[in-house]
Amino acid sequence: MSDTLTAPLPGHKMPHEDYLNATYGIRSWLLTTDHKRIALLYLGSVTFFFFIGGLFATMIRIHLLTPSGALVTPETYNKLFTMHGVAMVFFFLIPSIPSVLGNFLIPLMIGAKDLAFPKINLLSWYIYIVGGCFVLYSFGTGGLDTGWTFYTPLSSVYSNSAVTPAVIGIFINGFSSILTGLNFIVTIHTMRAPGMTWFRLPLFVWAHYATSLVMVLGTPVIAITLLLAGLERMFHLGFFNPALGGDPILFQHLFWFYSHPAVYIMILPAMGVISEIIPTFARKPIFGYSFIAGSSIAIAVIGFLVWAHHMFVTGESTYAALTFSLLSYLVAIPSAVKVFNWTSTLYKGSISWDTPMLYAFGFIGLFLIGGLTGLFLACLGLDIHIHDTYFVVAHFHYIMVGGAVMGYVGGIHFWWPKITGRLYPEALSRAAAVTLFVGFNLTFFPQFILGYLGMPRRYHTYPPEFQVLNVLSTAGASILALGYLLPMLYLTWSMRYGKVAGQNPWPATGLEWKTDSPPPTENFHVTPEVTWEPYDFQNRPDLGLVAGASPLAPAHGDD
């Protein structure tokens, strides 16, 4: 309905030459050092892993329709949830926003021609592919049944599945993350255009800066931890197996030292996306820019200090538990700051109901539930009951799927015109956004109740009293699946048949919108100079909006 209320589109034409048609042939893609093309290579490969992970999830939900398990054997069920987790966490969620949107946008947003190390950028994609192949080899030859957490000594001694190729694959893939993070940090430090000061950086860039710190500092730990588990499995070196003098709890400390911050690798970039979408579609500066930027850094730093909250029932010392619970509550504050600031940004905005904005609203709603339920789990007295139940499953899916994936899909929509030069069908995409939100809640909200009732996670069979909620969850998952399929279809369609978007269809204030859509290989025809503050619609006559005026009502007093 607000199709007519967005800025009118004059008859745009596709640019004569852009990064997509500058060169042709498979070699021009596989040997490219253009960050935009590498981003598209990642887009294809993370979508592939999302499909694989989604397929496993579908089978899990069908299996759980009946208490005794409707579809597969216990061994197969255990492999399904393990491979779902490994594919989604390591090969979709962690690389998705940074490697696709971050790769594409960071140079454009700061006015650079490329990332600082274009060849290393291509190398990280190849490393990701090699790691991915090892993991697919594991999936194809016996599968993997350890849980994505690889807890020892189950993974290092007792499991009969293909653990070794999987941990080698994740070890290799880690270097992809490290190199991407390094590239981003150096690029953001050294390649900003004239006038692009730190506090004129888009919040998306701030979020990626914080994410990159976590990637560079945390990933080596998971790489070495899984390598140790692999060595114990292959050569019986006693790191974690008590029968060989090792300590299984040590593995958990090392694993979560990375894997908790890894949650912030997934969610911080999504928060960056939301921080771009909201001011654009509310057409006003973001509320509390420096607080949102600072909270990203705070989350990255404090996020490193909360890992043992995954271990409250392992028998860790009471004082350690108290410390990690306290720190976990502290990390909630910067997340809350972001939510409050986003909400306040809407106040007296000029809010459109375009698709990316619907995703942003969806993100806030789902992240709110995901974040608030984190407060339940951080609470020592309560965590004992809900730890390792479906409550945890629901909580992290609200963060990782409700948060990170909503942010990713929202971001794909927001920057789709920039990436492809074309617009997607608006009505259909709005319907898909609503479908996703409804389907997601139907799938995962019942799992909070299941968890509090005491249904443990990773169960291929369950007592009959849990069936109603499981059926509800599976029904929701089918709606959710539709919500994912729709964008894949119409976005693909739009690449050829979508309306030509022009430079800045929304319009938005960022530097990436001041070049062609799709951009030329060198990003900008002339090096841009930044003379404006971020998200400033008032002093930007180039956007073609009512400049300087307050269109809602006469400006009253001091607000």
Partner: protein, 327 residues
């Protein structure tokens, strides 16, 4: 009773009401913020919906007083949640002095429990209501976790470590327990039932005579069959172990040539330490029943063996010393 779609499991331990109260407290705070923020978004969504295509919003860059407020107020509430949670947790981790200790061993994919008197059970745990119970948890292989939703208790069972947990059951009944740390193929089958009993029922159950007073001879005969004694101690003397007919009170010839009178002490010793005195002509094959029988059960077995005193002794395979062999 619970409704068809309950929101919380039964409250059957001292921790359950505490944990549910904590749950209510945190839910109330979170619900307040969730509703407030959602309401604000929905209201702004409609109230500030773009009216003209080229309209922009009013520039508001921030407000440091607001920022301070929404950092400090959530921090205070978070600290309240932390504090209350910590108090409950410390209670979880500090068992009282007067506990009834039960050993629980997890292995792929079953649970073994052993009562203080040695009584053992598999995938079952019997405890008396109102007593402080402490479980000492050990694993034979991978990490497991002992979880009783109705008690709101859970503790990992870690190989190479002894973890303990305690609780006080408050309501007789049967409650699910689960393994809640993923432990391999049949993780989901690694569960069972906790039976909370009145103390008198528990005592009766412990003595193996649940259901009131049972004739010890009958109980002994049942035990003799249940524990598979009859497989070897065949009445007609054809088994791998001597017939027990006519045994009680008679003299038994032992492998070392000496004899012993088959009295209560001898029978008890032979059940618990079978290799202490080997009957002449037999191999030391019998396993020990140490820890698998209560004193009451041993007495019942003795009573049963006594009842066999008047039965005909087989010519071969009795182990009773021939009267001529007397020194």
């Amino acid at each position: 009773m619970q409704s068809q779609l309950p929101l919380y499991p039964e409250q059957a331990s001292n921790f359950a009401p505490q944990v549910d109260a904590l749950m209510m407290f945190i839910t109330a705070i979170c619900l307040f913020f969730a509703v407030a923020i959602t309401a604000a978004i929905v209201i702004f969504f409609f109230k500030f919906h773009r009216k003209q295509p080229d309209a922009v919003g009013i520039a508001i860059h921030g407000d440091s007083r607001l920022e301070a407020a929404w950092m400090i107020i959530p921090l205070i509430l978070a600290m309240a949640m932390f504090g209350w949670g910590a108090v409950v947790y410390v209670d979880y981790r500090h068992a009282p002095q007067d506990t009834l200790d039960v050993y629980v061993i997890g292995k792929q994919w079953m649970w073994k429990a052993q009562q203080p008197n040695g009584m053992r059970e598999i995938n079952e745990l019997h405890v008396p209501v109102g007593r402080n119970i402490r479980l000492i948890l050990a694993s034979e292989d991978v990490i497991h976790d002992f979880f009783v939703p109705a008690f709101r208790v859970k503790m990992d069972v870690v190989p190479g470590h002894y973890n303990t947990m305690w609780f006080r059951p408050t309501k007789p009944g049967r409650y699910h327990f689960f393994c809640s740390q993923y432990c391999g193929t049949n993780h989901a089958l690694m569960g069972g039932w906790v039976t909370v009993m009145e103390p008198s029922d528990y005592a009766a159950w412990l003595s193996g005579l649940s259901g009131g007073s049972v004739n010890p001879v009958v109980a002994g005969e049942k035990l003799f069959a249940d524990k598979a004694c009859a497989t070897c101690h065949v009445a007609d003397g054809t088994g791998r172990a001597p017939s027990l007919n006519g045994l009680f009170g008679a003299k038994v010839l032992l492998a070392d040539g000496s004899t012993v009178v088959a009295d209560e002490a001898y029978i008890r010793e032979s059940i618990l330490q079978p290799n202490a005195k080997i009957v002449a002509g037999y191999q030391p094959l019998m396993p020990t029943f140490q820890g698998q029988l209560t004193e009451e059960q041993i007495l019942a077995l003795i009573a049963y063996i006594k009842s066999l005193q008047s039965l005909p002794v087989p010519a071969k395979g009795a182990g009773i010393a021939p009267t001529t062999g007397k020194k």
